[in-house]
Symmetry: C2
DNA sequence: TATTGTTATACTCTATAACTATA
DNA sequence: TATAGTTATAGAGTATAACAATA
């Protein structure tokens, strides 16, 4: 005994994220952040290296002769995780690990010549990804976004506050 | 034979994320997005439910009588993942699952009375979290951030474009 | 005993694939 | 055969903990 009135299709023609979620910067930040992160990782992976390689090389390019613990701390990644990344970088001779003669427990990690060159390539890739993912935003808007995110990040953790 | 000149502490006094990463909106978006996501999840978890419960309830509050596939699609989560979330919500009688008499494969999911009430609570929690995590930003700035993120999200996926 | 780097292990979230029941 | 929901499984990515070497 079917109901006499034929029911119209109940599946919504276009599913759309609820307005209250779309209007939550937190929801958008979390969702976009996750998507961005995975896409960036995939892109770097496709280019041949782990996504963290760029970050690590960037750290080494600024501060000289860091120890592994410092690098891991700076990037908020696990020390154990960093080992694998450094292994990869060392295999390709982008970095060098040398025992610290003053404290033989430590490794002094430094950028090699070809590491510096590779860093340039990573920068180009990063720029390309930014253009891709932040495409709809103009220069001024990107700066605006950067400023806002920096404010949030800086308030959460001092290591996100640029040194004077 | 220690070197005569005592080496100053080589560990940088303050580790700081490299400037070039801090100036990349992509890096900040990815990092903050991840942190925000996990913190929000933890907060909801601490409040007793999975973090997705709020999203699901919000969907149900807008569109009526959705099927599970529609909900999963809308929120870009896996159908299999959704099952567990709905189980949890149903256990606490926040939603109801009824077989669609027109197609007995489908479940018509709807919000219960106490589900609607719970949604209000979730909204309060979401507001609190937003205040917490976006604290350093004023009202205008939050709106700015929301607008920018909406632009990015909308360009990537039409389901992030608010319906007119 | 404490710390550095390393290795091994477990856990969380997500993605994929097999299964059932209906169509 | 194809689809909706369910269940089971495997896969990243990350976090925790044990380990050897050095201090």
């Amino acid at each position: 005994m079917a109901s006499p009135a034929v029911q119209p299709p109940i599946t919504a023609p276009t599913q759309c994220v609820p307005r209250e979620l779309l209007e939550s910067p937190l929801f958008l930040l979390g969702r976009l952040g996750y998507e961005v992160k995975t896409e960036v990782m995939d892109a770097f992976e496709a280019a041949g290296f782990s996504a963290y390689c760029y970050s690590v090389l960037a750290v080494l390019d600024e501060g000289d002769r860091e120890t592994q613990a410092t690098i891991a701390d700076t990037l908020k990644i696990d020390r154990g995780q960093l080992v694998g990344i450094l292994d990869e970088l060392e295999e390709h001779e982008l970095i060098e690990r040398k025992r610290d003669p003053n404290d033989r427990r430590r490794h002094l990690v430094s950028l090699t010549r070809s590491g510096k060159r590779q860093l340039t390539g990573y920068r180009r890739l990063a720029r390309r990804l930014e253009d891709e993912l932040l495409g709809p935003l103009g220069e001024g808007e990107r700066a605006q976004l950067r400023g806002l995110l920096q404010r949030i990040a800086g308030a959460r953790d001092t290591r996100y506050v640029p040194r004077p």
